[in-house]
Symmetry: C2
């Protein structure tokens, strides 16, 4: 019988002392609980993703030092932990993404990642050499096939890689698979992950311990969901979602299965509830890990800023969220009323700063320059940028982080003002299409009316000119979002989208708008990623390119 | 005798019709000149770098169609051209980065890139499968070892890859190496490139035809410098730098060398002259390829905006560059005078818009909010953001692109205002340390005083509070830039830098400032890259990380 503990922790990228403390605490706790094997997630030493910190030699040395300190504590216990390690071969990249086995106070074995995800938000081949040699590890006489995250993922119909690490490792007849991961959340990912893990236990007729990271690092959110799964695909114990967790399973090496007493399994929540949890965690960790407490949000009375304010209040506490209303001559009374009723409901602090007078002074200053031109997007953007300036001034003066309120639909088509409403340190709902923002608003209102019904029901407007409506410039959001989803998530071309959705003229116009606005998105804040294809790091389109 | 033409062209990423026309013109010209083999650069069909356009299936289909149309024209000539092609194997990534040999109106052979640069600004493993099979190609009975860019670069003391394509190809005893490339400029790159190519001809005792791309695509600048080199390392013909070029060489297959009649070789220019040329080309192509003519620049009287204005006037013509002076109550008379004398010298249009009154209105609007606080960085930033708003308003109204004027030193330490002086569609000097900006100003003044001597001689100041100087907040630029170079370009840690430069307290302070400002740089414009390590795409540091 092997007592195995799964440690699902929230690491802070680069903060080796912080991570070391988490790790040592779990080791000491496990020793006290007579654990045989304690498993941490991928790159736990430095947190995932360390990105180009890995290019700093002294950073790697610090990781090595942390690992050495941790190893010393691993007496009477085996520990598997993720760390970057040096490639001993002069040829190839200098680093491996490794799973390190600690035993008897020292490093007993190092196993390296073979399949290096380099797509979407991942860049692992940027730093790591691909492993090409395979050997199981031994823990108290139990032979374990030890792999790292992507190593188990090459089992689709169109394989991304030309090798299969488990095909090699099974040759040694292991009793158990252990996979350490840093597998980021998107709203389909839990299902996808469980399917992949089930395919593995089924293909190789082996049970699995899977330990994932939890917590957010800027745009990446990790949802946890570590688990122990028997070879029949049944989950014996599942760790919680969006929070740290620690569970123990008993592995019967003769039966090659986990003891099924005290099964822990969670029901799968709805898409929108997962998104809500991911965004709240994303905000919380962005602030916590960068050492800030207080958020500022520009509140328009519209649905986007309302949802962001509610999420921020949930993540940081109402007392740490400050709302600013900045009406102009084009603002409607209902916008102000709706914003005020939300602030009252959430018990956030707020202030009202009119931009009308400042806008008037810009118009005077530009009077000669603009002579003979009519009011157009230039004047609309001036107002938006005045609001950006005020929010940033308050942020600079009082140490708030400005939360951005742009949604994915408007980011896609460039319906936003760069340096205006596109300001902010973190984009909260930049990976949610407008239709999903409505769903989230309704979810937030599940128990009571927090976001005013009027905010949800009225027609969206930027209120930058008289009687403006989003629908003046854009198709209805149902159609817009459907087109965007096919173009962004599914990477379909115009013709394929028209085949699916008709509306040729609209499809072509929207695709042209998406393409024309790469330069704006390129200067946008990091976006908390909740879909399989978020703007930002995961989608890299050349700026001066021409294509259709 | 094989008559070989080297076509060094300026492709527009994604603009397949534009690229196809360039390619067909060169093919027809070559047929008229009785060329046996015409060589284009890497990914010439789609331009380099296509980035995630490669993830769009219809984009690959369009590339295939363009290639098919081009192939038909290749009668009585052999053509080698770079294109993305489909991987016929179901396993592995779906694409190869290929060199395609066209003969007799069809695709005769496809050779794929083995070594996929995935570091710094490169992400090739994101899209392409690594080639692992090797075979020379035949052109009129001459056996050619055909490789793609990085395939020749694995010959340093610490090899980045574990395979050497030329080691395989020489087994077939080829007579000639052909390498097609898209090798971006940095100010050391020409020397480095020639060294690498010389090592190859020397190692393999073979002459080489090397064809590189020229032109800029957003942040990437390609300097050309294609060449034919004999096995003794001598350059027989070199194509021009920073411009399109087309040259013919005669290859004697019996002697395995190029005929040395009419040698063309260029003297190596100074570092700063290369940088000047790269920046001018970078501006020119950014505008040309995005379909814009006119630039707007905020002119402060300081050296950064002066240099940007001079470069823009050079790239776009003075008549297409508009300067805006935006004095505040803190602006000195010499700033206005220096700015005006530059505008007069360059014959740009200009206007003066005071920000004092607008700033005053912001102070009034924020009066209650700021009560009890003193004038600090918040008020400084408001002024900078007013200027950003005015420049963007003019840009939106009249269709200018705003050129950003931040330098690398201030970007590094965060000495700039996000959404203020950090505004702009393109960063012109964001990869030049302040000390290099001075060198460039002097270079621009080589023949006559264009940038006023006073601008060069006075102490730098942001002029956002009374009597402000850069040196109030920052060490002298010589020391600052030396520290930054060690940290950014050389990736040294604090201790190693202190060993080299002393000044422990300053070094630690500066590194902390660099680390604390990732979030600002993350929202910055694309930077024309001229060094081996530019901020932006080539340096990816996590935002909420903690490290030192």
């Amino acid at each position: 019988m092997l007592r195995i503990a799964l440690a699902q922790s929230n690491y802070h990228v680069g903060n080796l002392d912080f991570n070391k403390k988490i790790i040592l605490d779990k080791i000491h706790q496990s020793i006290n609980q007579n654990i045989d094997l304690l498993v941490f997630s991928e790159l736990a030493i430095c947190g995932y993703p360390p990105l180009d910190l890995l290019n700093y030699h002294h950073f790697i040395e610090s990781c090595n030092q942390a690992l050495a300190v941790i190893a010393v504590e691993c007496k009477n216990i085996s520990v598997i932990i993720g760390a970057p390690t040096m490639n001993p071969d002069i040829n190839g990249k200098n680093l491996f993404n490794s799973a390190v086995l600690l035993q008897n106070g020292e490093i007993k074995a190092i196993r390296n990642k073979s399949l290096l995800p380099t797509y979407d938000i991942f860049d692992e081949y940027r730093w790591f050499e691909q492993n090409k040699s395979y050997q199981c590890v031994d823990v108290n006489g139990v032979k374990i096939a030890l792999t790292i995250c992507e190593d188990l993922w090459n089992i689709d119909a169109d394989p991304l890689y030309t090798n299969w690490p488990m095909n090699e490792l099974v040759k040694e007849s292991p009793a158990l698979m252990v996979n350490i991961a840093a597998s980021p959340f998107d709203f389909n990912h839990e299902d996808e992950r469980k399917n992949i893990l089930r395919k593995n236990v089924s293909n190789y007729h082996l049970p699995l311990v899977y330990v994932n990271q939890v917590g957010a690092n800027t745009d990446f959110v990790f949802d946890g969901g570590s688990l122990a799964m028997n070879a029949d695909g049944s989950i014996v114990k599942e760790l919680d979602y969006f929070k740290e967790d620690f569970l123990v399973v008993e592995f019967d090496e003769t039966k090659k299965e986990f003891n099924k007493l005290e099964t822990v399994v969670y029901p799968t929540p709805s898409k929108i509830s997962k998104i809500n949890n991911a965004l709240v965690l994303g905000i919380k960790d962005y602030f916590g890990k960068s050492g800030f407490q207080k958020a500022i949000v520009g509140l328009s009375g519209g649905i986007d800023s309302a949802v962001v304010l509610a999420l921020a209040a949930n993540a940081l506490g109402s007392e740490n969220v400050h709302a600013v209303l900045m009406p102009s001559e084009f603002s409607s009374q209902h916008s102000i009323d709706d914003a005020l009723s939300l602030v009252e409901k959430l018990k956030c602090t707020h202030e009202i700063i009119s931009i009308a007078d400042i806008f008037n002074r810009y118009e005077m200053a530009l009077h000669d320059s603009f002579k003979g031109t009519s009011f157009n997007v230039a004047e609309e953007n001036i107002q938006s940028r005045i609001r950006g300036n005020i929010l940033m001034a308050l942020s600079n003066k009082f140490g708030y982080i400005l939360l951005n309120t742009s949604n994915k639909s408007e980011l896609a088509v460039g319906y936003g003002t760069l340096y205006g409403d596109m300001c902010g340190g973190l984009s909260v709902i930049g990976d949610l299409y407008k239709t999903e923002v409505y769903q989230l608003a309704n979810y937030i209102n599940s128990n009571e009316e927090i976001i005013p019904f009027n905010t949800i029901q009225k027609a969206p407007s930027a209120e930058l000119r008289p009687n403006q409506k989003d629908s003046d410039s854009l198709p209805e959001y149902d159609l817009l979002d459907a087109i965007l989803f096919e173009y962004v998530e599914n990477a379909l071309g115009a013709n394929a989208i028209i085949d699916k959705l008709q509306n040729a003229e609209t499809v072509n116009r929207i695709i042209k708008m998406v393409n024309a606005n790469e330069w704006k998105r390129n200067q946008f804040a990091p976006i908390i990623r909740v879909s399989s294809k978020s703007f930002g790091r995961g989608r890299r389109i050349p700026i001066v390119a021409k294509y259709n």
